[in-house]
Structures are given as C-alpha cells and as structure tokens.
Amino acid sequence: MEQHILKVENLTKKFNDFLAVDSLNFSVLKNEIFGFLGPNGAGKTTTINMLTGLARPTSGSIFFNGKDYTAHIKKAQEIIGIVPDESNLYEELDGFENLCFCASLYGIEKTEREHRARNLLRQFNLTEAGKRLYKSYSKGMKRKLTIAAGIIHQPSVLFLDEPTTGIDVASARQIRLLIKSLNETGTTIFMTTHYIEEAERLCHRIAFIVKGQIIKIGAIHDLMEDAQKEAIIQFSFDGIVQLSQFEYDFLQQFSQCKLTHIQESVFQVRSAIAHDLMSLMSFFDSRGIKVMEAKIIKPSLEEVFVKITGIEREVMKKEKEGKKK
C-alpha cells in the first residue's frame, strides 16, 4: 500500500453562512507533488490555512502520518513547511537574518541555522542578496527567499500557495525547477495554483477545486485519459465561412460529431469515435469550402479542466492577469 503523509476527511470551513470549503476528502502520498488547481475564491488558501494551523476547520479531520491532528495542528507544525501566497518575512531584516530567524523558531541551534541559511542562499542564488534588506528585494527574489525560509527546518511536507503567481517567466521557471529538485530530494509537496500548465508540468496528482468542492482528483495521465477518448480536429478554412453554411448537412452525415466555432473561419470537430480525415475533407470539398489547414489537437489538461469544471479557459486566464496587477 502506498503511504500517505496527509489525509483529509470531510474537511469543511464555513464563514458564517458561506461555505468556503465543502467536505474535502483527499490524501497526499509520501514524496509526491500534489496540486490544488482552481480559480480565485475556490477555497485553496483556506484549505492550506486549515492544514497548517492558521484557520480552524468547521468540521472534518486532518491526519498527518496516520495520526489525527485536527484539534492540535500545532503539534504537527514541526514537520510542516509553509510558503504563503503573500510574503510574510521581515522587511527590516536582511536575507540571511530572515532565514536564521525562521530556523530559530523551530529550535535550531545557532551554528546549524547559520550553516543551513548560507547553504540555502547559495542554492537559491541569493548569496549576495543575503546581505541586503528584504525590502530591497524584487518579487522573484522575495518568493525565492520565502521558499528558502519555508524549508530551512527541513519539513517533510511543504505547502506552497501559488508559488509562481505574480512573478516573471524566468523566475517562475527557476522556482518550478527548485520545487522539482526539492521533491526529488524527498520533500512531499502540496501546492495550489491556477496555472493549468504549471499543474500539468509539475504535479503527479491534481485535484480540481471549484467553489470549495473537489470536482475531480487523479494522476495526470488518468485525467488525460478521459479527454483522450475524444478526438479533436481543427479546420481552418479559406475566406469567411459561416457555420450555417454546412452545419445541418454535416451533422446529418457525421452524427456522432460535435462542431464548435473557434474564431472567424476556424472550426473544431470533436468526436468520441475515430473518423478518418479524408472523409471529413471530402465533405468540405464537396461544399466548395477550401481547407487551408487541418490538425489533430492533442487534448491538454486545460481541455480536461474546462470539460470537467465547466469553467472556460478564458476565465482562468483573465484571473491570472488580474492577479498579476
């Protein structure tokens, strides 16, 4: 049996009458990267706060290593590392002091914490910055130092709340690599994100969370399998083509297919059964519609997410940009 480090049963959080987190059930396996993927306000941060001891569950149970810690998360905090969505380090301390201070909160002795702080600064390319005040850091540097502060006590499970939101592409890439290598050296990771590609690239298993509920949970390839049952072929036509020009006849002939208008003269044909491209091509040819391009679209996690949650990809994208500002 695979060992789980964290298990959650019927975890619920109500703010007055508002159900922010609604009976979550999931477990995180040892050494995996587990992703919580959902739009703004889905309840991701609230869940992390309950798991780490900043919020009290309204009901439900939290187990670490098989032991019930619901009523006293404080006792589990020693093995937990936390990187919150917003920085919570000290502006008036420099990078090195911040790391040492965080280590001291876990009772680590002076020589040991200084040794660890120096190593982490080196590992995160912050050795020079370590001597500067935290408030002078760029966003990317701040995030990196916050991660370093979250792992200085060598936790066995690390909670990362939107680790790459609001920072540039290069820093985000660096951070993803850091997360990967942390995981490879034995740290279990629980992360939230609303970047679908990030979840796809990093996580072993993902839970889709919307409006406080887990809609779907599974390993990436299992989630993809669902979507792969459906083939998507995208056609780009020459000139302006209206759906009405061929829709009726098309659906008569290919009754298992679904047609979607993507943009101007780009259409998608979705089908659960395989159709050969030639018969589709000749259909359009017979209607005098010239096909400029036809391509088979590999379903991405994004497709899966959109299909399962009913949330349009544009919504997630808009939120990403909104967040950045």
Partner: protein, 244 residues
C-alpha cells in the same frame, strides 16, 4: 530547549528591530526627561522632585510599554509576519510571553531614567529600593499586557495608538498621581480602583515617599490579577480572531 531557542530569538529580534532603534531609545529617554524638567522648572525645589518621581516613573513605564506593542504586534500582524510566528511550533503562551518580555524589560529601564536624572539634582535617601524595583517590574508587566490587550483587539496600527490613548490619559488622571484619590468625587474614585496604574502608583508612593494609601501586599496581588486577566483575555482574542 527548542522552545527556549525560539523564545530567546523572538525577543532578541524585537530588541534589535524595534526597541534599540534610535527613535525608541530617544523616546525612552526624552519622555521622562521632559516631564522631569517641566516639573522641576515649575517648582524649583528639590523636595518636589522626590514628590513627583513616582508619577513620572509610572507614566514613563505606561507610555513606553503600551506604544511598543502596537508595533511589535499590530504592525507585524498587518504585514503578515505575525502569521509566521503562529505557524511555528512554539506554543501560543510562550510566543506571547516572548513578544512581551522585551517590552517589559524596556519599561523597567524606562522607569529608572527619571531616577537617574533625579540623582543628578538631589540625594534620594530613605527609599525602599526593593519595593521600588518590585513595583516597577509589576507596573511594567501590567502595562505591557494592557498594551498587548489593545494590540490584539484592533487591526490597524493607528487604531492601536488611538485606542491606547483612550486608556492612557484617563488612567494618568485617575490613578491618584496628580489628583490625590481622596480629592476625587466618590463615583470617579470608584473608577480609579479599576485602574491597575492606581495600585502601581500607590506602591511607588509608599516606597519613595511613604505616603501610599493601599497596603503593599494588596497592591501587588491586584496587579498580578490584572496581569493574568489581561494576558488570558489577549490569548483568547488571538486564538479566536487571528486563528480564524
């Protein structure tokens, strides 16, 4: 051992970050000094220095400690760094003691600034220094916990400051330092007995000028009760409001 390391470093950081910063140090010295000077110039007799010493000591502690807590707690809460403390395995009680011990020590040092200044001008014989020292410690503890109570009851730094003045100024006037308790109207005097500073000031008066009204053990016991109640109330507030 682990708790001890965390405790010590939380306190040390506050000292380095806040208490030992020039504005705080100068405030700690200038405030008592200004009061001393004001009374001294007004009266110009050495006897009066001794008479006003308890009042200035008590006020220095009160103002010194309560204003610190709005920074070390309310400000850190605003900037979310207090969350980091709540997320670490140190228990809430130890954490709050670590956050307040620095302010208590600062208040104690503050109290002796006017004493040192007074020693420049006059001799101070016949003073029960043991009771002075004990009183200073207990006034510092009670005022710090009052500051803690205020700091955890509000969410903005300016609120903490406004709110603490709301407590501090009436306390100064009602505690018997400027207007002797006997001269206050009866119902106002009743209010005085609900103010911890009344007992602290009375202790200092007894120790320095032998003219206190309340017996020493009673004053100490009441200060201890005030401290415990304020501390527990603040702890409850953090538990219910900050761990939501």
């Amino acid at each position: 051992m682990k708790t001890a390391i965390a405790f010590w470093n939380i306190m040390l950081k506050d000292f380095r970050n806040y208490y030992l910063k020039p504005p705080n140090i100068s405030w700690g010295i200038i405030f008592p000094f200004a009061w001393m000077l004001m009374f001294f110039l007004k009266s110009q007799t050495p006897v009066d220095v001794r008479a006003i010493l308890p009042g200035i000591m008590a006020m220095s502690i009160l103002f010194g400690t309560t204003s610190l807590l709005s920074v070390t707690i309310t400000f850190e809460r605003r900037s979310r760094s207090f969350d980091r403390l709540l997320l670490s395995p140190i228990s809430l009680t130890w954490l709050m003691l670590a956050k307040t011990l620095g302010a208590i020590l600062f208040g104690i040092v503050n109290a002796f600034v006017p004493v040192l200044i007074a020693l420049f001008f006059v001799n101070l014989p016949h003073i029960n220094w043991v009771i002075v020292f004990m009183s200073v410690i207990f006034i510092a503890i009670t005022s710090t916990f009052l500051g803690l109570f205020i700091a955890v009851s509000v969410s903005e730094v300016f609120e903490a400051q406004t709110f603490s003045n709301f407590f501090r100024f009436p306390m100064v006037f009602l505690c018997g330092l400027f207007i002797p308790l006997g001269q206050l109207p009866v119902y106002v005097r009743l209010l005085s007995y609900f103010i911890p500073l009344t007992y602290g000031a009375d202790l200092l008066k007894t120790a320095i000028n032998q003219d206190g009204h309340i017996t020493v053990p009673i004053s100490f016991s009441i200060l201890i009760i005030f401290s415990i109640v304020l501390f527990l109330f603040s702890k409850r507030n953090i538990q219910h409001k900050w761990i939501y």
